[in-house]
Symmetry: C7
Subunit: 75 residues, 7 copies
């Protein structure tokens, strides 16, 4: 009944989909989730950096270190 | 007599129920607890983000990194 | 002579008793200690959240992540 | 010649003696050292909490999480 | 289909290419990625340090400790 | 030729000599290095606490938790 | 072709050479790199402490705890 009983299953289901990643420093990245690991290191493609609700810059690919992340949410 | 002698037993008993998750940065997420692991990484469904007592935004699914969490309380 | 030679023995002796738990962010929780583990993750029942000496809210059950705790003291 | 070549030997020699424990948040606890472990989790008996050089409150027993401690000094 | 399923694969693909490395303290380093490890310790060659969008200084080689990094993005 | 190729060799050579230990919170301790371990937990004898260049207080023995230390330098 | 494929190889190549070590607290140490380990604990000889671009003091030997370091750069 519960097809996603572990947190990483949720990340796995979001692969190649657009996710929002919030960092401890207040930045937000929005892009396609291409990869993650058990440290919650994450790689996004077609990523945009947001601050205070605005797009600050467009980054192609971005590697985000896991320990700087607070939440990850599918768009 | 004590059916929940380990902290994770309490989280397990809260699965599929509404919980409140408070973060170190002052944000609060309220939603249904779908998954957690030993790092206290947590996944909520039908999640709302609260700040200063108000709903800031509705998120469908949210993965919360364990090391950013202070408390988890069943509603 | 020394029946509690390890710190966790003290927590074990406080099980089902009222304890005060202070967090790094200045919050205090008071409740019955129901569970703890080696990471000092803690579960309280009949918990109250205090701030600046006042009860802010009553929570039934609360899971507190160990790394956010500074001290635990039996009432 | 050097009877205490490891740091924990010093803590062991201070068991049942009065020690001062300073925390990262500026608080100080003074009490009898009853227990400690390799994480430097510490238990004091007859503990007093000090702030800015004054006794703020008397606590019977207090468990102090190791990662919040800066120094421990025998009185 | 997905040739880079792990985050470190992305760093590996960026070897000898120009990357931007942002730190928790607000500094940014831009240079050629020469080496990295599982802690995300990184070595850049021909590195420049940026602050507030300006080049502050030119460093030949720089070793950046992983736990101070927030993101790494190929230029 | 290089008799101290590992960092802990330097600490070992400083045993029973006066060292300066600087903490992340801005305090400095000066005393005789009696013990250390791989976590860089340190014990000083005849220790003095300094702040802003002045001796604040004299402590006999002090145990300093490693993760609060920035540098250790022989006097 | 790539003789330094791991970050620690870069530190190894800098042994006995002058390096700049920047800390999270804004201090900088300049000296000869005598030793390092996998935690990036570092020992400098003939070290100088810099702050805001000025030499604050000269230290003979200094042990720098790895987790306080942001970058290391050969002079």
């Amino acid at each position: 009944m519960d097809e996603q009983s572990r947190p990483l299953d949720t990340l796995n289901a979001a692969r190649n989909k657009t996710v929002m990643v919030d960092l401890k420093n207040g930045l937000r990245f929005v892009g396609k989730l291409k990869a993650f690991d058990i440290h919650i290191n994450v790689v996004l493609h077609e990523a945009e950096e947001h601050k205070d609700g605005e797009v600050k810059r467009k980054l192609g690919t971005v590697f985000i270190r896991g320990d700087t992340i607070t939440i990850i949410s599918p768009a």
